[in-house]
């Protein structure tokens, strides 16, 4: 479904991503794990069109999407949950969700999506008219996730969706990820909580200093002693 070939991305002179190749197949959950500053977010932003690659190619459903602008990529079915809770500050929770459905066709579909989001994140329903800027950190995280789901994505890019969530909700969020995956959405997941991420992933890649170091199925990597030492906390 998504194929990244020899991707390199620079910030000025800093070479943040070096010659990275990987792929995500239809219906999979694929994880990228790695330390702070490894380049995970950079890869994600390049896929969603927010950053321009220096070299390499990104193919989505057989089409090269590298030259396509970010809004068109959303239109093609790739949604993202960005790092750092990018809510529309100043707009209410409801309006934020409406924006998420900006390209979604059909009133009924949109209504259905609302219902689903509120079912998954009941707290958003409680806060429906609150200014998104005043939500708590975790609430914002949920809102961004809900917003991305409003677009009915074929492929969803998740950048640390569990950040700042209460332990009880972390389990839930991974359940939700599994759920949307089962409902037909392909998932590319970045997580610091590598243990949880790997346990729900079909496959995963380990990113270190801008390069892919290791790859395998979720279970393989969970069992790998290097991975355990470096990313799972011993």
């Amino acid at each position: 479904m998504l194929k990244v070939d020899n991707l390199s991305v620079n910030y000025g002179v800093i070479n943040a991503v070096k010659d990275v190749s990987f792929e995500v197949n239809q219906g999979e959950i694929v994880s990228l794990i790695g330390a702070n500053g490894a380049g995970k977010t950079t890869i994600l932003k390049t896929i969603s069109g927010l950053l321009k690659a220096k070299s390499g190619s990104i193919t989505y459903l057989g089409k090269n999407i590298q030259k396509i602008s970010a809004p068109k990529i959303v239109g093609a079915g790739i949604s993202q949950v960005p790092e750092g809770r990018h809510v529309f500050a100043g707009l209410s929770v409801m309006e934020n969700l409406q924006m998420g459905a900006f390209l979604t066709k059909g009133k009924q579909q949109v209504q259905k999506n609302y219902a689903q989001v509120f079912e998954r994140f009941p707290i958003l329903k409680e806060r429906i008219n609150q200014d998104a800027a005043t939500l708590s950190g975790g609430e914002q995280q949920m809102l961004v996730m809900g917003r991305a789901l409003m677009a009915n994505p074929k492929l969803i890019l998740l950048d640390e969706p569990s950040m700042g969530l209460a332990p009880i909700f972390i389990n839930e969020i991974f359940d939700i990820i599994k759920e949307i995956n089962q409902a037909g959405t392909t998932v590319l997941l970045i997580e610091q909580n590598a243990k949880k991420a790997l346990s729900i992933s079909d496959r995963a890649y380990v990113v270190a200093t801008g390069e892919i170091q290791l790859t395998g199925t979720g279970d393989e990597l969970l069992a790998n002693s290097d991975v355990q030492k470096a990313y799972l906390g011993g």
């Binding site: 602008s69 809004p71 068109k72 959303v74 993202q80 500050a89 707009l91 409406q98 005043t134």
Partner: protein, 292 residues
């Protein structure tokens, strides 16, 4: 009493002119937080377009009005493309300086190529006065007043009800996030400029017709006043711009009528400052408190 009502009419019609200009200001500011200094000059371009199209091609009033809206929209979009778009990611104050540069360019370019003479605007609609119980009101005053109100409602509808309006609001609060949900930022901003500038173009023809006098520097003073009106109303807010415009028109009239004409601008600024101290984001502005 008659005088009082006459002054109210005077204030409303002056206010409707400020409101008309402030609407365009607030649209553009609302979305890219740019004080578009050149807005007043697009109004001037609209007036000149009306002048030439009526005198040279004998356009009717409606033709002149509509075509000057188009001219305004095109100039707005072109200016945005060349002078502001390259600065999308630059500090806002930089774009403000280019806006000032564009304003200088339009004012002085027009002066240079078409002379800075004052011209009399063709009186394509003859002015009639209606006398209502001793209070005079002219057909053109009514026209401007009605246009300002209709446009305000129309704009509000566009922003609140249409998809483009939704996109405009999204871009205005967070352009990065807007891209992430699939909104084309450039197109949205161009549309906003087109809309705001077409209002300025229309204002040019209406005000040209009303005062019967146009010149290349005509945009400067009302431009600044309209900006003040937009700020007063809460910049970015459509009803705010109108209310701000009317308020300034009425205040100016009030202070002139009680004999403070020499200080009228000073008093208006004084009131502005006081209102801002009470309502730091203007009358209709949302005072965004940061969450920590």
């Amino acid at each position: 009493m008659q005088t009082f009502f006459q002054q109210v009419i005077n204030g409303l019609s002056l206010g409707s002119i400020y409101a008309l200009l402030a609407l365009g200001y607030t649209m553009v500011y609302g979305i890219i937080k740019l004080i578009n200094f050149a807005h007043g000059d697009i109004y001037m371009l609209g007036a000149f377009w009306g002048y030439y199209s009526i005198n040279t091609w004998h356009f009717s009033f409606i033709e002149a009005l509509l075509s000057s809206m188009i001219v305004g929209a095109i100039s707005g979009v072109v200016i945005e493309y060349f002078a502001y778009r390259p600065l999308r990611h630059a500090p806002r104050i930089t774009a403000l300086i280019t806006a000032i540069g564009v304003s200088f360019l339009l004012e002085n370019g027009m002066s240079y190529f078409f002379t800075s003479d004052t011209r009399d605007f063709p009186q394509i609609i003859t002015q009639h006065n209606y006398n209502i119980g001793g209070v005079l009101i002219s057909n053109i005053q009514i026209l401007i007043l009605v246009t300002a109100c209709v446009l305000m409602i129309l704009l509000q509808l566009i922003i609140k009800r249409t998809k483009m309006g939704k996109a405009m609001r999204a871009v205005s609060v967070d352009s990065d996030a807007a891209e992430m949900v699939g909104i084309n930022i450039n197109r949205t901003i161009s549309f906003t400029f087109a809309l705001g500038s077409s209002l300025a173009g229309a204002a040019g023809v209406l005000i040209g017709l009303y005062y019967n006098s146009i010149d290349p520097l005509m945009g400067m003073t009302p431009g600044i006043k309209a900006f003040v009106a937009a700020v007063l109303g809460g910049i970015g807010s459509v009803p705010g711009a109108s209310v701000g415009g009317f308020l300034i028109g009425i205040l100016e009239t009030l202070f002139q009528s009680i004999g403070l004409s020499a200080y009228k601008d000073a008093v208006v600024y004084g009131v502005l400052i006081i209102i801002l101290l009470v309502l730091p984001a203007g009358i209709f502005g949302k005072n965004m408190k940061e969450k920590v």
